[in-house]
Amino acid sequence: MAYVIEQLINGLAVGSVYALIAVGYSMVYSILYLINFAHGDVITFGAFTALTMLVIGVPIPVALFLACVLGAALGMTVERIAYRPVRYANRIVPMISALGAGLVIASTAQAIWGPEVHAFPQVIPRWSFELFGQLIPFQPLIIIAIAVVLVTIATILLDYTRLGRATKCVCQDIHAAQLMGIPINTIVPLVYAIGGFLGVAGAVLYVTYFNAVYIQMGLLATFKAWSAAMLGGVGNFHGAFVGGLLLGIAEAFSVVVVGSAFKDGVSLVFIVLILLLKPDGLFGERTTARS
């Protein structure tokens, strides 16, 4: 039982990290039907920047916040350079452009920080406390809390501000939104900024949890976050979050059942199963059937 609870907490922690990363994918996809392949590399870059700032002694909260801001800026830059010029081209074109942008960012990161795996400092202490005779680790709980707070803030901004509602319009129909006088060249970069900010936050928590940061984690993050986004229903903000949590828990228990070697395969199995059984995802919004 104790082991199950521990795995559940770990699963939720990793899952909330996936959720933070997935939200960025999901929102971008719903606007432009583009899988933002550069997203994983943007957040890796952000995590490395956080590492460098921590090494040179920037206070932890400042370093993490600045890294997230950099993620937002990088997301917007990628949109401006790689996506906007091909926004209305055939869907394959922005996808290739995305792959290219991802390569550029990953290679730049590799040139700066090198290909090896770096240890990441513990920004959240690894204490634990006892509750009902059960040893509860402190760090995963903080990770879950941070993720919940960030997603709640993002939700409030989307639901209750003028720009947030405009963003929802753009996500549902970019052309109609444009005709409402919504400045899409402000909103679309904003979406990339939100995705980059939350994504880097997720990435920093991820590397803290696993105590390692390396170039290739961008690709791994892409698989997992994409799987989470699909699980929840692509384009659905909350679906992406719940999808992330479910994936995290499934991974944690897959370690128990089939061994840790297969853990990273779980997200891929999910992708296949979703495509086969419920392509809209668990919470896919399909009220558009009638027209």
Binding site: C169, A177, L179, M180, S291
Partner: protein, 254 residues
């Protein structure tokens, strides 16, 4: 001075020009139809006016000021609102939030909600469904919502693209009833339609487009009585599926 003056405008998609040096005017309070078959450039012209596609050459004056190639949001702020073909309501948003979205460029937030209420009263079919997702409305209800959403910006010129598209005859009747009411209230309207008879009934003047050019224009009544127009667009001689349909309509009316 005309409210909208389009002077020798050429525009299209990429390198393919669809509109060839076209001139069209809409006066204050006037209703103007753009008529023509599929692919003659009606929607393209409206898209160019609303800033969605670039104007290659020529001028567009709105209230005497040049507005060609402004961004869509700048044009909405000036009072040019485009209700797109195929309705394009925001499917996962409630009816009232769709209306609110239409008023995005306005800064008087209190007044906006007042206007939302006014729309609910004016169009009871929206009032009854105010909380339901717009994607669940019927085609006709969505078209009414699209027009109401356009009105939320308090336009000086409302451009409605193909409002009869995909609607049942009853719903077409209903939607054109609404357009007629708008015209009575003095709203300036530009209407792109394939349903010639319906369009002429609610507008003062019309331009007939073919291959990106204006081939005929004039007051609605005089077009209806023009021999050439009747032959080509009301199907008096040529037939074809479009013509036959109109002929049928004419037959039942005479």
């Amino acid at each position: 001075m005309s409210l909208l003056e389009i002077r020798d405008v050429t525009c299209g998609y990429g390198h393919r020009m669809v509109i060839d040096s076209m001139s069209v005017t809409v006066d204050e309070g006037e209703g103007v139809s753009l008529l023509g078959h599929n692919g003659t450039g009606k929607s393209t012209l409206i898209r160019a006016i609303s800033g969605v596609i670039p104007v290659k050459s020529g001028a567009i004056l709105f209230e005497g000021k040049p507005v060609a190639n402004l961004t869509p949001d700048a044009l909405v702020k000036r009072g040019i609102v485009h209700v797109p073909a195929g309705r394009r309501v925001f499917p996962n948003m409630s009816v009232e939030h769709n209306l609110e979205a239409g008023a995005f460029t306005r800064t008087d937030r209190q007044e906006v909600w007042h206007d939302v209420e006014a729309m609910m009263e004016r169009f009871p079919i929206l009032g009854e469904r105010r909380k339901s997702a717009a994607g669940l409305l019927s085609g006709g209800e969505q078209q009414v919502l699209a027009v109401a959403r356009g009105l939320m910006a308090r336009p000086k010129l409302l451009m409605v693209d193909e409002p009869s598209l995909g609607l049942s005859p009853t719903m077409v009747q209903f939607v054109f009833g609404i357009l007629a009411e708008l015209r009575k209230d003095g709203t300036s309207v530009m209407l792109a339609e394939q349903n010639v008879r319906k369009a002429l009934a609610v507008t003062d003047r019309a331009y007939v487009l073919a291959q990106g050019r204006v081939i005929m224009d004039g007051p609605s009544e005089s077009l209806l009585s023009s021999e050439a127009f009747r032959e080509d667009y009301l199907g008096a001689k040529r037939g074809g599926s479009f013509g036959e349909l109109v002929e049928e309509a004419l037959g039942t009316q005479s």
